[in-house]
Symmetry: C2
Subunit: 121 residues, 2 copies
């Protein structure tokens, strides 16, 4: 039987670092919701206003900040359209689609949890 060092310094630093990286980029309550929205509506003209209306509870100020950060990290693409009053369309990038597996697992976990809770008591 092999013993581990007793004074075990913070275990798995690498993993913690990687998770923190992910939180930094995708963290907060909105980014993954926005990515989910854009992934499902890949071929649609998703204007700022439309996103703001569809994602219930988000304010324009916060949405603006979130979109900017997502664009900075190349997860979404921003395109100004030459309309009368200017409109802007946002879309998912190929790289942005890599978050789909995260989203799917979070959705699945949430659904399972809800079922678990309902079956209690």
């Amino acid at each position: 039987m092999i013993k581990k060092p007793l004074t075990d310094p913070a275990p798995c630093t690498g993993n913690l670092l990687a998770m923190t990286d992910t939180f930094d980029i995708l963290g907060g309550k909105w980014k993954l919701l926005i990515l989910h929205y854009l992934i499902l509506r890949e071929d649609i003209n998703n204007t700022f206003k439309k996103i703001e209306r569809d994602i219930v509870g988000i304010s324009a100020k916060v949405l603006s900040k979130e979109l900017k950060e997502l664009e900075f990290n190349q997860l979404i693409k921003r395109e100004e359209q030459k309309t009368k009053p200017i409109t802007v369309a946002y879309s998912i990038t190929e790289y942005g689609k890599s978050t789909k597996e995260i989203i799917d697992i979070l959705v699945q976990w949430g659904q399972t949890h809800r079922i678990k809770i309902l079956n209690e008591d």
Copy 2:
């Protein structure tokens, strides 16, 4: 702690709701780090003090709050030990282990992202 259904015309309401449920339970920057820590150290005596030391950056006040919420949602178990100055050990529950797939994906994504960034420019 589950949110009430939103009266929400947005597409894919169910998915958004499920994701929001997950955020409510596992959200914030600490809960998944704590679960990850406890999953890896399943058979170890994880006292409050030990966790506080190993998870760099967390304060006792916040750790206390997070542990309470995780226990409330049955993701971890709290056990007082009959030591001289009382100690408390926390451990992952079977249900808590269901978060491992989430953690694994977040770790993996973070690592991949880091590699991507390094290979740019």
